[in-house]
């Protein structure tokens, strides 16, 4: 057993874990933050994307111990004060989800794309940047629309963005 300490969604957490525990297992099983999903075992699907020190990572592909002393944000941690994050609201408004299983990872990736590429995203950029996220339900059409709209809305909500 190894001790890990990190900050998850603003809360400090410390736990003893089997060293082979993946970050996603730690989040789902130790912290019961089940919004982060597992869709594959080859780091392909992106259902598990969280932010580690402000950057998108596939939480199935790093060990919990590698996140020691880091700041992790999951899908449960981005809505501020009862309001949806603009990207969450955009997915809802543009029907960017059906079964919802890929959605947390999509939203976390989308916010990361905006952080890296800015608020004015064209369709090709969004499609190319979503290469690490699989969705089997939507055909991506509405996800692309949602990400574009969410990116713009994030420009209008700088406070929320800063809070994240």
């Amino acid at each position: 057993m190894t001790t890990v300490s990190l900050t998850v969604n603003g809360q400090p957490v410390t736990a003893d874990v089997d060293p082979r525990t993946l970050l996603v297992q730690f989040l789902r099983e130790n912290l019961r933050l089940t919004g982060t999903h597992v869709g594959c075992d080859t780091s392909q699907c992106g259902a598990c994307v969280v932010h580690l020190n402000g950057q998108a990572v596939k939480s199935c592909t790093i060990l919990a111990v590698q996140a020691h002393a880091s700041v992790v944000t999951t899908i449960e941690g981005i809505a501020g004060g009862g309001e949806l994050h603009p990207m969450q609201a955009a997915f809802r408004e543009h029907h960017g989800l059906q079964c919802g299983y890929c959605t947390p990872g999509m939203i976390m990736s989308a916010i990361d794309i905006v952080n890296r590429k800015g608020n004015a995203l064209d369709e090709q950029t969004i499609r190319a940047e979503l290469e690490g996220n699989l969705c089997r339900c939507t055909g991506y059409h509405n996800i692309v629309k949602a990400v574009a709209a969410g990116a713009q809305a994030m420009a209008q909500a700088p406070l929320q963005q800063a809070a994240e």
């Binding site: 089997d18 082979r20 789902r28 099983e29 019961r32 933050l33 089940t34 919004g35 982060t36 999903h37 597992v38 869709g39 594959c40 075992d41 080859t42 392909q44 699907c45 259902a47 999951t74 899908i75 449960e76 809505a79 949806l84 969450q88 609201a89 997915f91 809802r92 408004e93 029907h95 989800l97 059906q98 079964c99 919802g100 299983y101 890929c102 959605t103 947390p104 939203i107 369709e123 969004i126 499609r127 190319a128 979503l130 290469e131 996220n133 699989l134 969705c135 089997r136 339900c137 939507t138 055909g139 991506y140 059409h141 509405n142 996800i143 692309v144």
Partner: protein, 787 residues
């Protein structure tokens, strides 16, 4: 139409929990004291098991129990079943081999279940599984669909040549006569590639047993929890039906693969009692590739006869359908009654004859995958029609139009009666949206840039709203395919709808509430939809085959009618009028010709207070149930047009435009319907361009991860132009036809027709990967040079 009623693009009620990470999928459930199951799977495609020694695993750390097929047999747990009986041409029943949940004496595909380890942690269960000693006598395997009946390999004792059935439909003699009269015959050989459904949520199950009450609970990733309960109790025998609660909570996509009753959930329920602890199993993606039921896998030769005017005279089809190593729950119906009855497409074809040989191979079982049989039929019809038009020098759109069915109802030679449709309307609209007029210009422009541009049509039809119970019963279905609903009105006027349909992405919490809102005049916020729990909902047949709207919602509509009828009785007492004078309109019960009326909620309250009427004359309360059995299938149809540009130097096919014009009848929520179309097209494009399931000759699955099996990603797809035409369905009270599978049915032939148009020859198979297209483009160059 109200803001939230039928036809409004209402934003989904369920999304609040999904976008915030509060969805509750099976793997999110953790029961006190739970242990973890891990299945030891066969590494061989075909082998006799000489012995299994579990003792080294039993002493590994954390191991709770190890079970094999012998343990299941000792408890008299039955095998998995196939619920649709198909008879061969000669009248003999299909040859169903045994399908034990854990192998007994033999394994028949890579991934077949050999033993289960239950341990304190999943990691410990996996470690222990490696310690189990299995002595295999490896046998030769057969994997190839076309070779299955010729191979010197016998998958099941009941079937010496691996044939499950030789089935047929249609009239052979009339079809032969039609071909004898033909001016031209178009022939085609097609492979409908095997697909892995791959919902992003893998399958999972948690079994639980309560010693105090003798009750079992199963949390499972199911599209039809009541059917799962029925099969687990009545056929497999793990628990009595009234003692087994099956919960299918949020489910992350199904596409057919979560209809079936698999070994894993069977074992979890049974083992929970054996080890006196809840038992949890969650598939990883590799296991999903190996053991989820696959889709498609047909080899077909088809011929179409036409006369001198380009009228289709007849169609004959021979298909070999690979059913895998065992008959999965509905597998036998897919290449038979869900396939051949659709071979008339949208066309008036006087004579059709289809033969289907179902075969066993040493591969994963094959069963329904989005569209189930109908995509395979549409691929045959639309590839043939396109090829025929080319051979006859006719415009593919006009060749189709000339052969469309225009009079309804229309009975085809393959047992379907199409109730309504306007195929030319969809075609006209699609041609306009796709700017077909200027296609040649775009093609020339591409040619100037060294690219090959092509356009492909698909005039698809499907049979949805499955299905009239008597009709499917006469065709071999083990169950009726009605749906049930219960509408519970609370004293405060809010409503709970209990439905036997199940939502795993379709948005029923929204669309079903829209129907209630529309009919009862209350806000959708006043409506809760309850599904996916056999303790709450009495019974249901579940969601597949685009049946939730046409059948599930029709049941709700029927129950709502009963609620309104009862409400009128209550209102008559309260308003001191005669029942015949009460009208229900815009959410109010009123006395005709007066201004006296009561809101729906006031009547609900009065029904429960029960002061204004005698309980002997009228029962208190306001709750009604209904079972709805459809009168016919529904027939969604439409035209998809795909325009591609191929780079002959790289073989990359780029979809430049996608036009979809569909007739789904009455639409409840256009936003959701369009989303269903998008998703279906993506899966169809995946089949056409990217997805191919490859077994090597020894039966190893080569494409067993997302690294090797190419799923469509955002960059592989365009945005889609989706339009609708509407002919209301006359076969159900809501006029709904269904939309869930249309895209997956329409897309593959549209893509391949576009690619073959671009190439100028027909020699390309699915998936048309860049490598395959590059080869085909080189062949096109050679052909061109030879001209």
């Amino acid at each position: 139409m109200t803001a939230s009623g039928i036809g409004a693009p209402v934003r989904r009620k369920e999304d609040q929990r999904f976008v915030t990470g509060q969805g509750r999928y099976v793997d999110d459930f953790n029961r006190p004291g739970q242990a973890y199951a891990y299945f030891l799977r066969s590494p061989h495609a075909h082998a006799a098991i000489r012995s299994i020694d579990t003792s080294p695993a039993m002493i590994m750390p954390g191991v709770v129990a190890v079970f094999t097929g012998d343990d299941l047999a000792a408890d008299k747990i039955g095998g998995l079943i196939c619920g649709w009986m198909i008879h061969s041409k000669d009248g003999s029943p299909m040859k169903a081999g045994p399908h034990p949940a854990l192998a007994q004496g033999k394994v028949r595909y890579v991934g077949d279940h050999v033993a289960v380890v239950i341990a304190e942690t999943l990691a410990q269960a996996k470690d222990a599984a490696e310690a189990i000693l299995v002595d295999y006598d490896v046998l030769p395997a057969v994997v190839d669909t076309a070779q299955a009946t010729k191979a010197p390999v016998q998958v099941h004792d009941v079937s010496p040549d691996n044939t499950v059935f030789n089935w047929h439909l249609g009239n052979k003699e009339e079809t032969q006569a039609a071909f004898a009269r033909a001016k031209h015959v178009t022939k085609i050989d097609l492979i409908n590639n095997r697909l892995v459904p791959n919902p992003i949520e893998p399958r999972a199950a948690v079994g639980e047993y309560d010693f105090g009450t003798d009750n079992y609970t199963l949390y499972t990733t199911s599209q039809n929890p009541h059917v799962a309960r029925l099969v687990l109790s009545a056929f497999i025998g793990v628990a009595p039906e009234h003692k087994l609660r099956v919960i299918a909570p949020d489910v992350g996509g199904g596409f057919g693969s979560k209809i079936f009753i698999y070994a894993e959930e069977t074992v979890c329920v049974w083992a929970a009692k054996k080890v006196r602890r809840p038992v949890k199993w969650t598939s990883d993606r590799s296991e999903a590739f190996l053991s989820d039921a696959h889709g498609r896998d047909h080899v077909t030769h088809a011929e179409m006869a036409t006369d001198e005017n380009g009228r289709i005279l007849g169609l004959r089809v021979h298909t070999t359908a690979n059913l895998g190593a065992y008959l999965s729950t509905f597998s036998s119906s897919v290449p038979t009654y869900l396939y051949a009855p659709l071979l008339s497409g949208q066309y008036d074809i006087p004579a059709i004859y289809c033969e289907v040989d179902g075969v066993y191979t040493n591969t994963a079982p094959v069963d329904a995958y989005r569209g189930a049989g109908r995509p395979e039929a549409t691929f045959v019809v639309e590839r043939l029609v396109e090829k025929a038009a080319r051979e006859l020098g006719k415009d593919p759109a006009e060749f189709r139009r000339a052969n469309y069915i225009t009079q309804f109802p229309h009975t085809t030679p393959v047992i379907m009666t199409y109730d309504t449709g306007d195929y030319a309307a969809s075609l006209d609209k699609a041609l306009e949206v796709a700017d077909y007029r200027n296609f040649q210009q775009r093609k020339q422009e591409s040619a100037r840039n060294g690219k090959l541009r092509g356009i492909g049509f698909s005039s698809y039809i499907e049979a949805c709203g499955i299905a009239p119970s008597q009709a499917v019963g006469s065709l071999g279905a083990g169950v009726g395919l009605w749906e049930s609903a219960e509408v519970r009105v609370n004293p405060t006027g809010s409503v709970e709808v209990l439905t036997g349909s199940h939502s795993h992405g379709q948005g029923h919490e929204t669309t079903f509430a829209q129907l209630v809102s529309d009919r009862l005049g209350i806000s959708i916020d006043q409506v809760s939809i309850v599904h996916g729990d056999t303790d709450k909902v009495q019974f249901g047949m579940g969601t597949y085959g685009s049946r939730s709207g046409a059948v599930g919602m029709s049941a709700i509509a029927k129950a709502i009618d009963k609620v309104i009828a009862k409400g009128k009785k209550v209102a008559a007492h309260v308003l001191e009028a005669s029942e015949g004078d009460i009208e229900f309109k815009d959410g109010r019960f009123g006395v005709a010709g007066t201004d006296r009326s009561l809101a729906f909620g006031e009547v609900a309250l009065q029904a429960y207070i029960a002061h204004k009427f005698s309980g002997q004359d009228l029962e208190p309360g306001l709750k009604e149930g209904a079972f709805y059995d459809p009168t016919n299938f529904t027939f969604p149809a439409g035209v998809h047009i795909c325009e591609v540009e191929i780079d002959p130097d790289t073989g990359v096919t780029k979809i430049e435009r996608w036009t979809a014009v569909d007739d789904f009848g009455v639409i409840i929520n256009p936003m959701i319907v369009e989303g269903q179309v998008h998703g279906g097209i993506a899966q169809g494009v995946g089949q056409a361009l990217l997805e191919g399931t490859v077994y090597d000759q020894s039966g190893q699955l080569i494409t067993a991860s997302f690294n090797d099996y190419c799923m469509p990603r955002a960059i592989d797809l365009p945005s889609f132009q989706v339009g609708m035409t509407v002919t209301p369905c006359p076969s159900n009270p809501l006029g709904i036809k269904g939309c869930g599978e249309a895209g997956a049915i329409a897309a593959p032939p549209a893509v391949i027709n576009a690619i073959t148009d671009a190439l100028g020859h027909e020699d390309i198979a699915m998936p048309a990967t860049p490598q395959a297209v590059w080869r085909a483009a080189q062949k096109a160059r050679t052909l061109l040079a030879a001209e």
